[in-house]
Symmetry: C2
Subunit: 350 residues, 2 copies
Amino acid sequence: MRKISKVGRIVLGDGRVAIQSMFKKPLRAYSEASLKRLYNMGCDIMRFSISDESEDEIRSFVRRCDDLFPLVSDIQGSVSQAVRSLKAGCSAIRLNPANFRISDLESITELAGERNAAIRIGINEGSLDDRSDDAIIRFFDDYVSFFESRRFENLVLSVKSSDYSRTLFINRLIGERFGYPMHVGLTEAGDICVSAVRTTMVLCDLIKTGRIDTIRYSISGSEESEVRCAYEFLRTLGNASGDFQIVSCPMCARAGADVEEFDRMVENFVFDNFDIRGLNLKLAIMGCPVNGIKEAEDADVAVCATKSGYAIYRDGKLECNVCEKTEFESLFVETVSNAIKERAIGRKSI
Amino acid sequence: MRKISKVGRIVLGDGRVAIQSMFKKPLRAYSEASLKRLYNMGCDIMRFSISDESEDEIRSFVRRCDDLFPLVSDIQGSVSQAVRSLKAGCSAIRLNPANFRISDLESITELAGERNAAIRIGINEGSLDDRSDDAIIRFFDDYVSFFESRRFENLVLSVKSSDYSRTLFINRLIGERFGYPMHVGLTEAGDICVSAVRTTMVLCDLIKTGRIDTIRYSISGSEESEVRCAYEFLRTLGNASGDFQIVSCPMCARAGADVEEFDRMVENFVFDNFDIRGLNLKLAIMGCPVNGIKEAEDADVAVCATKSGYAIYRDGKLECNVCEKTEFESLFVETVSNAIKERAIGRKSI
């Protein structure tokens, strides 16, 4: 049995998988451009951990994100934070049963129901005194029963551990037992390398259960890296909303430039200018034009760092050679725009 | 049928999986400390792309790496580079059949045989004109036959693509058909996020074939990130040579510090001071002592960035609070050393 829940306009439980990340700094630290970039990268839902923000501050942030993504407020164990968040228009709250008395839930449930907000019951194994399967199931049994008895069923469930096998086991159990949409990820997942590897291993296994509805790569790093990983996982499976693909060379002593830095620069141009949803485009970022372009010849647009500057290729053919960064930026954006337009025209004419 | 090959002291084909990475800068750019760090992180084999280095320069680098890892020289299609590398003492060369005439292989094969060096026949899909399965199999058939007819069987095979499904299919085919040890990875794999996700997905699938002997995460990033990803993949499967685990929090608005930077600092201390082989230790790196320590209480050593400095915990109990970075560094290394010693004593007394 599969149930459907809604976090704002994002439907969970219908087979699609939504990409989620979490703001790591206080809300006021985010510029419009940084929010738009997260959206452009494919982010569907953002969470934030509420601290001292007033209802008005949250409301204003909800509005700023309105065209981009619904917001989930992480209230951990605070009733007042839950109330503030729901009144301010957040699309969901996440509460941790380990920090929350069930008796405090009456008013929150009523308010969430009125506002069509979802509630995520999210356990972190690390916050439990008793970490046995039985204890975890009891938590969910108690909380799910409480909400269902109040006819509140707009629920999302999650149970996170930093342990691989444990995560697989307990997620299968909870997903199967309750049928509500599942938010899947690890906790204390590590830096980019460790979290990307470990989370992918978990998702590769759990995706087969058909009970993954929204995913987060928790990373000791930027929100962008969390969204990038999640998008790449879904894209590789053919499950992402676009088919935008970046390939880039790992660099060797032959490279004309620092490929890592070049890659970051180019990716930033892309995500600052284009929404990857529906962007059916392959982009190659190469450190050396000698082998690079042969290897990137099936890319729609390829860029190479050369010893003297940058080169831009369309469909494997050199389009232009530039030496200045600013000139490269505008020509690159123009080339990608043209590639997209021509593809769109090509499609219509078929 | 499974064959065994040897890259220096590293045996391939016996079921263990060796971690491989590649130098991204000219050899002279690497300090002793940076080489030692790669070794400490679990690296088994390093490759480099030879360019203008003389035989003496390579020989001197081989010696510098002698206690750390065998070296593979990437000669692509140059006979003279192959000869220089083998004479200088490299443990293997990698050649790309797409760039190499089979008629040029006589002298190289003889020399590799004399020096007990391995040869990797490594195809990158991107360097082929004809990328069909048939063409790839023909390359391997021709080259493998050539070497076997000269009684040279110290071979490693690899075939890399940037495409997920293609990589799975062709690796299964080649691994099964020839039985030689396989080096597995992707080419043009992307930045840390994209490569870590995509390569993990490939490895999760191929590991089941039992035909993965050495792996590389190609990343548009540092060698360290490549080794970290590979180690974490093997560790999670229980296949790594140690059981050293790092967990770290993904940071939220409650964090006392930039966890990404703090994490990098702590990891550098670890890898500069300790070899992870056989290091049975769990380390937690947390951004907030409030939730953090509860979540990290099963770690042997936990460190927290606090608003005023750093805190170090042993087995969930506060060991010390410091505010200066330099003081933190020495106390941290001391705490980890003590934890290792006590564990070693504990083991002996049982």
